[in-house]
């Protein structure tokens, strides 16, 4: 999607499973020069504290590279987890992909 990298994630983001994949993927995108990254978590049915830590790590890595990371299509469980951990104040969570793309465009 132009200069926006959209990553469709599925399954679990938990200790030793999806969390390492997420970390590698985001670092690679940054390495390739991407600065606008949208994580589609619509098919992520489970995330634990390690997964949340990886999301925060990804957010920080993208910000450090002067980029933006946004989240879209959170499942109820992921949404609730991000809510109770107060990470809604950190992450830019978009309602759908079109809104996310627009928000990247309007910010640039």
């Amino acid at each position: 999607m132009g200069d926006i990298a959209i990553v469709d994630f599925s399954g679990k983001i938990t200790l030793g499973e999806g969390s390492a994949t997420l970390r590698t993927m985001v670092r690679e995108l940054i390495g390739q020069g991407h600065r606008k990254i949208l994580l589609n978590l619509g098919d992520v049915d489970y995330i634990d504290s390690s997964g949340i830590g990886e999301l925060v790590g990804a957010y920080t890595a993208v910000r450090t590279a002067s980029g933006e990371l946004k989240l879209v299509y959170l499942t109820k469980r992921v949404h609730d987890l991000i809510q109770i951990t107060r990470l809604f104040t950190v992450f830019d969570v978009q309602a759908d992909e079109s809104a996310a793309i627009l928000s990247f465009r309007s910010a640039s």
């Binding site: 938990t14 634990d48 504290s49 949340i52 830590g53 925060v56 957010y59 109770i84 951990t85």
Partner: protein
């Protein structure tokens, strides 16, 4: 006379696989006890976080050490113990992950999630010196044939 306490105890190796194993054991036991889907998720997640804590911080990923998982039932409560062989810790020493200065930390949310998903959480010192994480969840109430609700 008080009903006898039912107890299940499993000794787990300090390895990543134990996290999923502990979660699935507790979910299976809780399912048999009548917990619904939402509570099963919360119980599983809390135990998962407890075992991650034992694996990472208590036993420092030392494969020579063990993690003890125990599930007990009292009259109205399911109690889960996760015991490690570390140095122990106190809840008051755990930083608040919701504090502004901690929001961007990549770790330190496990204890908070255990508290959020269970009815109560305590940390005791195990006889071995490690931490004994004790999690409490009130048993679900079912409606009996006479229409009165009861704890299973």
């Amino acid at each position: 006379m008080a009903a006898p306490t039912q107890r299940l105890e499993v000794t787990l190796d300090t390895q990543l696989e134990s996290v999923d194993l502990a979660e699935s054991i507790v979910i299976r036991v809780a399912e048999a006890a009548g917990f619904g889907e939402d509570d099963l998720h919360k119980l599983g997640m809390a135990v998962r976080e407890g075992v991650i804590n034992a694996y990472n911080y208590g036993n420092c990923q030392d494969r020579r050490k063990k993690i003890r998982l125990a599930v007990e039932f009292e009259a109205e409560t399911m109690i889960v113990h996760v015991v490690d062989e570390g140095c122990g810790f106190q809840l008051c020493d755990v930083e608040d992950p919701l504090a502004e200065e901690n929001l961007l930390r990549t770790s330190g949310r496990g204890i908070f999630l255990m508290r959020a998903f269970m009815d109560d959480l305590a940390v005791r010192r195990a006889p071995t010196g490690g931490a004994d994480l004790v999690m409490y969840k009130k048993l679900p109430h079912r409606v009996s044939g006479n229409g009165r609700s009861q704890a299973e």
